[in-house]
Amino acid sequence: MVARARYYDGKVALAREVTVRPASHELVIVDAADSSVVARWPASELIVLGDTGHEKAPPVARRGEEGRLVIDDAGLRRQLAGTMPPLAALGRPRPAALPRIALFGATLAAAVGLFWLAVDVGSGYVAPYVPYELQRRLGESVAEDLAGDQPLCQGRAGLAAINGLASRLARAADYPHPVNVRIVKGGPVNAFTLPGGILVFYSDLIDLTRDGNELAGVLAHEMGHVAHYHAIKGLARQFGIEQLLKAMTGGFSDLGTVGAGGSLLLALRNGRGFERDADATAVELLEKLGLRADGVSRFFERMLEKQPVDMASVIGIWSSHPPTAERVAATRRPATGASAFSDAQWKALRSVCGSTEPIPPARPGAKPSAPLPPTNRL
């Protein structure tokens, strides 16, 4: 049997047309033109560089030498592989493209799905075990980022009232760490939860509420976020999505932009799920303490009055919150039960911003590289 091939001696850049004569103990390479023997490679020293899956014509070499024998004809490669065991790799058929694409495409989809599931479920399990001190420090630094330049309200009785209710709600939710409510003077009408049980309320929100039960509703909603560790979960999920995107895009910097859009959408979807959970827990906690639970839905109605066009339902998947009307319907409860705040407490809360003082700057160096996603605002 004679196989035609190209031989490079590894010393100069010349290609030689050769024929190959396989024998039991050696491969004889013979010049195609004048039949002179070019090289004799012992069978035990033959190696195939690469494989037929990647190389179109995997080069054959003698171990430790730079010479190469390249056989472009697949049929001849197969024959050679059949005769000489060390060259068996030359004969492997090239994997068919379509089944491979189907196999790896399906595996990839499954791997991405599994990864996402692991992040989605895993973050829920892991979040409570993140050391509390770490959560609190993270929360403090974000608080400074988000509301650091606005003064904090100092009304002692008001702060005691809202922190007292927050602690009762935390106990009802079996939240094992202390919670800390601060009130920032000014707007917007909002409240948010940070890692480490830190709740920030804006005084404009307190001004908008008609009675203590509405404020209690908002506080219970925020405690829902605290009890579910939503802030830490959100961070963990975002980190997970980033890792997945990095792996999927294989390091195209431009893809970062598009990927960021995708991960933002996922974060917002998370946001809507978190809000529904927090709404449900809010009503549950208030009812568990025997308090009036109608404040939650009444406050949402107040928001709707203030802004009749609900942005959440207009922008749909781009919203971090579910449509307000849906939230009203889900949280509507009868006006039964005890009031959350006494008249004196409510009065103190209304005037909690009588005296103010700026937030002391957080320790330098504790700043996170990226701000928290706004998942846990009101």
Partner: protein, 393 residues
């Protein structure tokens, strides 16, 4: 006929006629199949997800092996013999260097900043700032080092390629030139392009055969200035058209001055979204007018750089057109971005087919005179390149 010239000098003996140079044209041949490339790529992506990205060194190596071995010049295929572990080691080394850098920055922080702290400026801020500062030069260093690594793992006719010169010198030069170009309103672009192409081409070698580059910025400055001012003109035209369209459109719809004022002073989310949509449309319109110009220049530059490159007696030329450059720069970009990266093999396939169609090689190397290069090339892979994510493949 006398041997003496009219000036009384002896005429030179007639020289033997030089053998005519072999300038037979040929083109590289690419015979890869998109389906096969996708099979390899999807396997790579699957492993990437399962190993959280750590398999990328091996995946990249496999892709290169496929691409290299499916390109042949003068009937001889390229061979890529890099190994994933080499890329991994290069990456880990760079991580270690960054660790040392972080330690250094920590010392700077302790000595320089701790005493008189700036509120809101922490150690990590200092570290990131320093990374941004050294990142640009390092990316250039990485580009050069990456090219060196890839060439050193590339063989043709059994002979290794390689790259001489200092990656650090290239990094410094590239940083300086790009900075100078930025502060002169990009008027130095031809100088930058030619000065950065020169080390990359003339330091490359195939075996003992060096490449030569005979370009000079002066050759292409005229064309560049034409492109530059045409570009400025088109921008002004596009902006003028856009402003006119907005004003005319506004009047047509009967907007009053107060309404416009209200729109600007109290924008709602809806107007914000509309505005963003309008900006995207404008961006695309601008792109349609300005990108072809850009492609025209890039195609010209590439043709110039290729034509001024030589390897011994082998000459090169390219006839790449503006339209093909559009396909290369714009279409390829859109494919990768719109498919979230899944279109990458398609782009690679398109690129190699373009090279096979538009790169002309005149003559053949004098193989007997080209030996194996004395140096072996770097032991580890493109760590820096990997770090700063500027690698194509």
């Amino acid at each position: 006929m006398s041997d003496i010239t009219p000036w009384g000098e002896r005429a030179p003996a007639p020289q033997p006629r030089p053998t005519p140079l072999d300038l037979t044209p040929s083109r590289p041949v690419y015979d890869g199949k998109l389906g096969e490339l996708y099979g390899i790529y999807l396997r790579h992506l699957t492993l990437m997800v399962l190993t959280l990205g750590w398999s990328r060194f091996w995946g990249r190596t496999r892709l290169r092996r496929y691409l290299w071995n499916h390109v042949s010049v003068l009937g001889d295929r390229f061979e890529y013999r890099g190994r994933g572990i080499e890329l991994l080691v290069g990456f880990v080394l760079v991580l270690a260097v960054l660790g040392i850098w972080a330690g250094l920055m920590w010392l700077v922080w302790e000595v320089g900043f701790e005493a008189h702290a700036i509120p809101g400026f922490g150690f990590m801020n200092l570290f990131y700032l320093s990374i941004v500062f050294i990142g640009i030069p390092l990316a250039f260093v990485g580009q050069y080092a990456g090219l060196r690594y890839k060439l050193s793992r590339t063989r043709w006719r059994g002979i290794r390629c390689g790259m001489a010169g200092s990656a650090w010198a290239y990094g410094g030069l590239a940083t300086l030139l790009n900075m100078a170009n930025a502060v002169t309103g990009r008027l130095l672009t031809p100088l930058v392009s030619v000065s950065l192409a020169r080390p990359r081409i003339s330091h490359a070698f195939f075996g003992t055969q060096r490449f030569d580059f005979a370009g000079s910025a002066g050759d292409i400055y005229g064309r560049y200035l034409g492109y530059y001012f045409l570009n400025v003109f088109v921008w002004i035209l596009a902006i003028g058209l856009a402003v006119a369209a907005v004003i005319a459109g506004g009047m047509q719809l009967g907007f009053t001055a107060e309404e416009v004022e209200k729109l600007v002073t109290a924008p709602s989310l809806r107007t914000g979204l509309l505005l963003i949509a309008a900006l995207v449309v404008l961006y695309i319109v601008f792109g349609l007018m300005i990108l072809p110009l850009r492609c025209w220049w890039q195609a010209y530059l590439l043709r110039y750089l290729v034509a001024r490159t030589r390897a011994g007696n082998v000459l090169f030329a390219s006839a790449i057109s503006t339209r093909q450059m559009w396909g290369f720069m714009v279409l390829n970009y859109l494919i990768v971005v719109l498919t979230l990266g899944l279109g990458w093999p398609w782009v690679m396939h398109r690129t190699l087919r373009l090279i096979a169609r538009e790169l002309w090689i005149y003559g053949a190397p004098q193989g007997a005179a080209i030996g194996q290069p004395p140096q072996r090339g770097p032991r580890f892979g493109e760590g820096l390149l990997d770090m700063f994510d500027v690698t194509g493949f």
